[in-house]
């Protein structure tokens, strides 16, 4: 019986999510104009849901101090209090408000993941395009360095680097960005290799265009679609990696709120059949799914596929 009830609630949740996505698309299409509106009107409902969720996360991250009832690091009661009206989701292992921590966690985890991905992309795509455009020894040197970095399992490699350089937010960002930029490099290089053989690149070279303009005006616009799609996917991986590292204790350091370490800190509650420690994990899962919905739609548009 309880199984049927669970099934019912799952169905309700999916229906609700799809309706929300559909409504979001309708509203977004009516407030935007021109090409954007046309794109939104033809977008699938899943993409609408994904965009809605991403938007909510951004809002929560930006407005964290307004939304959260307590301060991020404030001890407000006894440890592991159950859900009630003063503490919406109870308290954690040190007596801090769980809901507050969850809201601030969005800011820290999502913010750091975004910064890291952006950095990984800047490094990876610029070097990748450079390697493909210049070719020769430049390509050889960069590609071999990337091969070496990629040969080491990323989680173990980042654990190693973080142990060596210490665990501050800046090192965390730099280490993960460096490791992830190798993946971006490979993609940017392979996409660009198909573009540099086109006649218009030859024409630009013969015109005497400099390297920078060649990369930014002639190659990058044509490589953008797969790179943007990769950005979405890469963001998820980085996000999961930060959470994983935090769970292992070398990521974002306490007392800063962060979803990965929140799961670890409150894991003891799972044994008592309480779902609270799983909420941060759920938040991670939801964002990952949402980003992937949007990326799927973008990939579809970029590849020009119909249906």
């Amino acid at each position: 019986m309880s199984f049927l009830i669970a099934l019912f609630w799952i169905a309700v949740a999916i229906a609700g999510a799809l309706t929300a996505g559909w409504l979001f698309l309708k509203i977004a299409a009516s407030v935007t104009r021109g090409g954007t509106a046309r794109a939104l009107r033809s977008a699938p409902v899943t993409a609408g849901f994904g965009m809605l969720v991403i938007l909510l996360y951004i809002l929560v991250a930006l407005l964290a101090p307004v939304i959260a009832p307590y301060a991020e690091r404030e001890v407000v009661g006894a440890q592991f209090l159950p859900w009630d009206s003063t503490h919406l989701l109870g308290t954690d292992n040190l007596g801090r408000d769980m809901f507050t921590r969850l809201v601030y966690g969005a800011r820290n985890t999502v913010g750091i993941a975004f910064l890291t991905t952006a950095l990984a992309f800047s490094i990876g795509s610029i070097l990748g395009l450079l390697a493909a455009t210049v070719g020769g020894w430049m390509d050889q040197v960069l590609s071999r360095i990337v091969d070496i970095l990629m040969a080491i399992p990323s989680l173990i490699f980042s654990l190693l680097l973080l142990t060596i350089f210490g665990t501050s937010v800046v090192t965390l960002i730099l280490v993960i960005a460096t490791i992830d930029s190798t993946r971006v490099f490979r993609l940017a290089r392979s996409v660009a290799l198909n573009i540099v053989v086109m006649d218009y690149i030859e024409a630009a070279k013969l015109r005497g265009e400099g390297l920078w303009r060649l990369i930014t005006r002639e190659i990058l616009p044509n490589a953008l679609a797969p790179l943007v799609a990769e950005f979405g996917l890469r963001f998820c991986f980085v996000f999961l990696m930060i959470s994983a590292l935090s769970f292992l204790g070398v990521g974002i350091q306490p007392p800063t709120a962060d979803w990965g370490s929140m799961v670890k800190d409150n894991a003891a509650l799972i044994t008592f059949g309480d779902v609270t420690p799983l909420l941060p994990a759920g938040a991670i899962a939801l964002l990952t799914v949402a980003v992937n919905f949007v990326v799927d739609w973008m990939l579809h548009r970029a590849s020009g596929l119909k249906e």
Binding site: M198, D199, Y200, E202, A203, A204, K205, L206, R207, G208, E209, R217, E218, P221, N222
Partner: protein
Amino acid sequence: MADKTQKPVLLTMKDIRIEGRSDETWSEIIKGVDLTLHKGEVLGLIGESGAGKSTLGLAAMGFTRDGCRISGGTIDFDGIDLRSASESQRRGLRGKRIAYVAQSAAASFNPAHRLIDQYSEAPVQHGVMGRAEAERDAVELYRRMQLPNPGDIGFRYPHQVSGGQLQRAMTAMAMACRPDLIIFDEPTTALDVTTQIEVLAAIRDIVAQFDTAAIYITHDLAVVAQMADRIKVLLRGVEVEEADTRTMLSSPKEDYTKSLWAVRSLARPAQPAVRDAVPVVSVQGVTAGYGSTDVLKNVGFDIHKRRTVAVVGESGSGKSTTARVITGLLPPRQGRVLFDGQPLPADYRQRTRDQLRQAQMIYQMADTALNPKLRLRELIGRPAQMYLGLRGKALETRIKDLLTLIELEPAKYIDRLPSELSGGQKQRIGIARALAAEPKFIICDEVTSALDQLVAEGILKLLDRLQSEFDLAYMFITHDLATVKAIADEVVVMQNGRVVEQGEKDEMFHPPHDPYTELLLSSVPEMDPDWLTRLLEERAAKKA
């Protein structure tokens, strides 16, 4: 030939309408065309690209491409209604009684299987013959298609035989079940003229031998004149006119057909030769190549102001490589290139901006030569901005002038993307981009070969006008001798990386010739329906 219409009717298509879908709406591609084909008869289907030739040809098998549907009319193949027939019934006919030969054999063969395996597929599947029998039959047909080593050519993979042989192997494959009808979709368009002859002769013989009916789709009038008993002209999905070949060639009725015929006679008087002046471009004793092989061997010729030098030859003869040497993309091993009497640095990276500006290039495929993400404003404006330092208002004016020059309305086109233009318009943008640099010399690399005849004619006229307006020198790379006749002053014939013969156009089109030039010239199809027969007889006589 006229007696073929007395034979029983094989295929009747009545009031055929086919729709294609784009952006969620259906629009008609074929707007009510009738077609009748008798047993053993060859019908030529001609028209520009987009006229619906291939769509109509495929519909004769009861088939449409993805995104298309037959919305009206009847297709009757030997008493079977193809529109109401079930899919399995139609599948039983295809390959067995109706076969299809595609334009690009190289792209249509599966590269992972040997030719003979692909040959045997249809007869074995349709249960016409067993595997061993099919292979014996393949050898017999390969022999009849005059393929070299018919006994073992089938055991090669598609990439191991030449383009012309592949096209013949494909025709043999279509013949495997001895179908009643074959649809040839531009089977020789991708081939050189010298190879085209062999394929045309082979196709014509085999169709006659087995008394097969055929629909021959092409945009080349001279080719269709050799192959077809009757010709049907299509324009934007509507039939323009239909008549038997001789009548059609000698007295076309409609204006559109006449204009198609007239394109082939485009010619301009040659510019007077300037012997004493310093040539704009002088290629001297150039030997160049990739890796350890020499693609060019001691190539040399001059190009003078206001003159067009056509470089002709088969694919692989080194025409485009010569262009790469002149532009500096491929530094030569020996020899040099002079510009206005001054030697040019061999590598384009060592040339000054002004040297780069003086020599411009127009590419064969405008699709890949224009950055698809840039608007025309930037595509054309960039060279003017870079070389001439134009900014703001002056640049805007210059872009508009250039658009006017290539006969495109500036206000309408300036902010378009290349994807919003037709093929001919794209090629015009390529021309405008070259002109924007205000060069003295332009290399035109097969600029018209990807275009329809009428569109190509427009481009050639435009190039001609621009030449006299701006005193340009052209190097015109082409394999199409009709184009040479239309635009060249001087001709350079290349074969295997050597210059075989060069001289004024008028001299070149008159004997005596180098044997290769002779072969090249005689292989260009003529509008005379007896041309192929006569040519083959002459060549046979010469051999004997």
